[in-house]
Symmetry: C2
Subunit: 266 residues, 2 copies
Amino acid sequence: MFLKLGGSLITDKRTPQMARDEVIRRVGREIREALDQSAGLQLLLGHGSGSFGHPTAEKYSVQEGLAGSDDWWGYAETAAMAGRLNRLVTEMLLGQGIPALPLQPSASALCHDGRLVHLDVAPLQEALKRGLVPVVYGDVSFDTVRGSAVISTEEIFAYVAPCLQPSRVILAAHVDGVFTADPLRAAGTRLLPDISVSHFGDLESMLDASANTDVTGGMLGKVRAMCRLIQNQPELTARIISGERAGSIKKALLDPDIEQGTLIHI
Amino acid sequence: MFLKLGGSLITDKRTPQMARDEVIRRVGREIREALDQSAGLQLLLGHGSGSFGHPTAEKYSVQEGLAGSDDWWGYAETAAMAGRLNRLVTEMLLGQGIPALPLQPSASALCHDGRLVHLDVAPLQEALKRGLVPVVYGDVSFDTVRGSAVISTEEIFAYVAPCLQPSRVILAAHVDGVFTADPLRAAGTRLLPDISVSHFGDLESMLDASANTDVTGGMLGKVRAMCRLIQNQPELTARIISGERAGSIKKALLDPDIEQGTLIHI
């Protein structure tokens, strides 16, 4: 199973470099309890970069690419931001007794024109086999065309899924699921209980583009990445839930049929 | 050029998890000044794990191997120790204005019976081309025979050297170079100003085995790794110097003919 903790869930997006410690600890407890209650559960964790990585990536145009630039400081600084948040998250997961093993994506990633084309999957496989909980995260990457890129956890999940064959992907967000408009801004929005990959094209224009406030494409980008993933692995489902509601991550980990958030399926 | 900051230099080996902040900052300043004075200097940095990684690796027998074990907590904890120290070192290097880019070895490493047989070199190459300063470190690794292993910075240097073709390797230690016995313990010890790889066999028995106080083989292990490296790349030299003497790392980076410490050559 793959579980992503969204950047808006684990950081305060209004304040640079502000982790939501109490949320991360509570989520850690839920994951620990789910692992305790489900022997043999192989779990790959991922987390967003939130108010650590995104503002810095934007400031230095890391996503658009630094090809031709002779000043790559912004690449190092964005990587440091991602690494700082990952350190905090990892310490809190270990503190809850989860055998968390962070695996830095940019230590092996390579992109081609913004698309992730290489990542070393072997350490992830080995960790899962041993009952460890590998942790990946939104990170920088070198790019053969643009020089540099930013890779999201969803892209990493999509890249490693054919190899690791998860049965389910859970994305724990700051909001309750996928809405027809940004639920934090507009009135009259509607939660979509499920999205069928084959109907995503019709739906796409309905989803509020204003929700795309980060460098890796916001909610629309996440749904698109999940649809692409499911297209290639039709037996897989993805569920976007709120990580703000205490207990919902634990429930979602233990129960594939939980009625919460938005289910994305073939 | 490759530069390693020894674990005994950057941590207080007597106290678990105690970094020597003032030493790391001073060394960072020296590296920054050397980079400023030597345009085009491509530098790969590495550092040991000192009082962070070694005691934990030993406690859980990570180096002997966890194959067959169903409790891999010690692997996650040793990785966390290495990651913590790397975070501290990286922050201090960035603080000195060095575009340091840590690349977690265990995110791509694989060992076979204690020998490093795979590491993703592409991100290192890309970083060096862009004027970034990649940083590697002593870390854990999965192992196809033993289950787990510990990899030293020297082993990483030896693995990537054929690809990156450095002209020199500098190991900055807590002591002045290679001695016939442990200089911190025995009287009547003698500093060896140079070691020829072809004579290393005769010398090996003279070197004090009591200096081997860490899981990756102490000073003898370092010299052995450098000899193996130079055997394969005879044009390469390695110099073991004291990083305790202010200015010596900067001097060694700028001057290949500096007379300090122990030179290892073909």
